[in-house]
Symmetry: C2
Subunit: 217 residues, 2 copies
DNA sequence: ATATAGTTTTAGACAAGTCTAAAAATAAAA
DNA sequence: TTTTATTTTTAGACTTGTCTAAAACTATAT
């Protein structure tokens, strides 16, 4: 069993590791978790003793295979809860992170199994990030930007890049949501703006906006 | 803000207080929370300093008005989550307590407001216990036992007294669930057994079974 | 190559929550 | 009303996770 703090460190490590080839510095961890480097060192040493982190003094830290599994499981829970909050409780995409940060630490296999079923086994969270499966396997997301789609291509919205409230409200006007099917009817050569079809209706969208929307197709 | 441990003590105090006129002993608290009396004393003293508990050495503890509000709020969350687990995730009535024990400490007003709406503002949890409202007010439950109903009376199932798995499975056969409308068609003078109508069908139920089911009418 | 700057680790302290063992207070029995 | 038993509180210790300050190490610059 891992404590809430341990789980948060493992998760941070998982994310930081994917952003750089070599070991994660205690500085980087401290920055991410808003603690001090000395605290990070302490925790990394403890996690190393528990065999979930590989660590050599001054050389940075890596997750072991076991550590990766635990981290992926926490991330799985985080993202499933985010889907729940948006899909079922009608939260906005940018309101859910802090609550999921708490919910991800609830301990119950059965709960997550059932939640996953209840949500219909989603593959992406409301920010377009992939949800690891029960075995910690992450489907590499083939997500691209809506702006990359050409005429007559279509995709399913899986998230947004930046998600401030004003922008989300704008998307609501275009009836764009997670899972929305978006078809590109026309691309304006001049400025890259598009005419799209969502839910039977057609809308106009600027290139800048289209560069902020993730789709899979 | 109150910590997880503080919230658990407040909740225990709330329940214990309703079971005896005078102050709650540190012994009783320790027993309920599976800690030691010395730990309970420490915590009660801290809660007294925070003005949520009224406490005099050797005289037992009471919740203050403020303390009662916080306790009721934790209980509200616990019971709402229990409803969610049973109604939405299809857990059995006896599987939800431990998970709710964790979920009750998630901090977000908005979350609970929305959860309450999502669940259609339930008044009772799956064990028939009333759910405090946003202001900590508990509708005194007029719940009675199914065995107390007379011929042609009806009630809505709000919970069960003892909830072991086997019994719940038996109730499933009678299609009795939280919210089920149960009408008493006939009472057998001889042994108190009843013929009841649930969801259009009629079933036979022994007095012993009927003494285990809570209804309101 | 040596000095300087930046990073990382250690040492020691602290708050929260718990425990054991002992002291103090209360309750029950003689 | 003493003595004895039980309950409750205190004292001191321990764990987890954090912090500051100082020491040790690494990287950079002259
Ligand atoms: Mn978290
Ligand atoms: Mn997310
Ligand atoms: Mn419960
Ligand atoms: Mn609890």
């Amino acid at each position: 069993m891992f404590t809430l703090a341990e789980e948060n460190y493992l998760k941070a490590l998982f994310h930081l590791e994917s952003e750089s080839k070599d070991g994660v510095s205690t500085n980087a961890i401290a920055l991410k978790l808003k603690t001090k480097p000395s605290s990070a060192t302490d925790m990394i040493q403890k996690l190393a003793e528990k065999k979930v982190v590989a660590y050599q003094k001054y050389k940075g830290a890596f997750l072991t295979k076991k550590g990766k599994l635990i981290a992926a499981d926490v991330i799985r829970k985080h993202r499933l809860w985010e889907v729940f909050l948006v899909e079922k409780l009608n939260f906005q995409w940018d309101e859910v992170h802090d609550i999921a940060e708490q919910l991800e630490h609830i301990k119950s296999e059965e709960l997550i199994t059932r939640l996953d079923t209840f949500l219909d086994h989603p593959n992406f969270d409301p920010h377009g990030d992939p949800i690891p499966d029960e075995n910690g396997v992450i489907k590499s997301s083939d997500k691209k930007l809506l702006s990359e789609l050409e005429e007559n291509q279509q995709g399913i919205c899986v998230g947004v890049k930046q998600s401030d409230s004003k922008y989300l409200q704008y998307l609501d006007k275009l009836s764009i949501n997670i899972g929305s099917k978006i078809k590109v009817l026309n691309v304006e050569e001049f400025d890259g703006s598009k005419t799209i079809e969502v839910g039977g209706k057609s809308y106009f969208i600027s290139e800048k906006s289209a560069q902020n929307i993730y789709v899979i197709n």
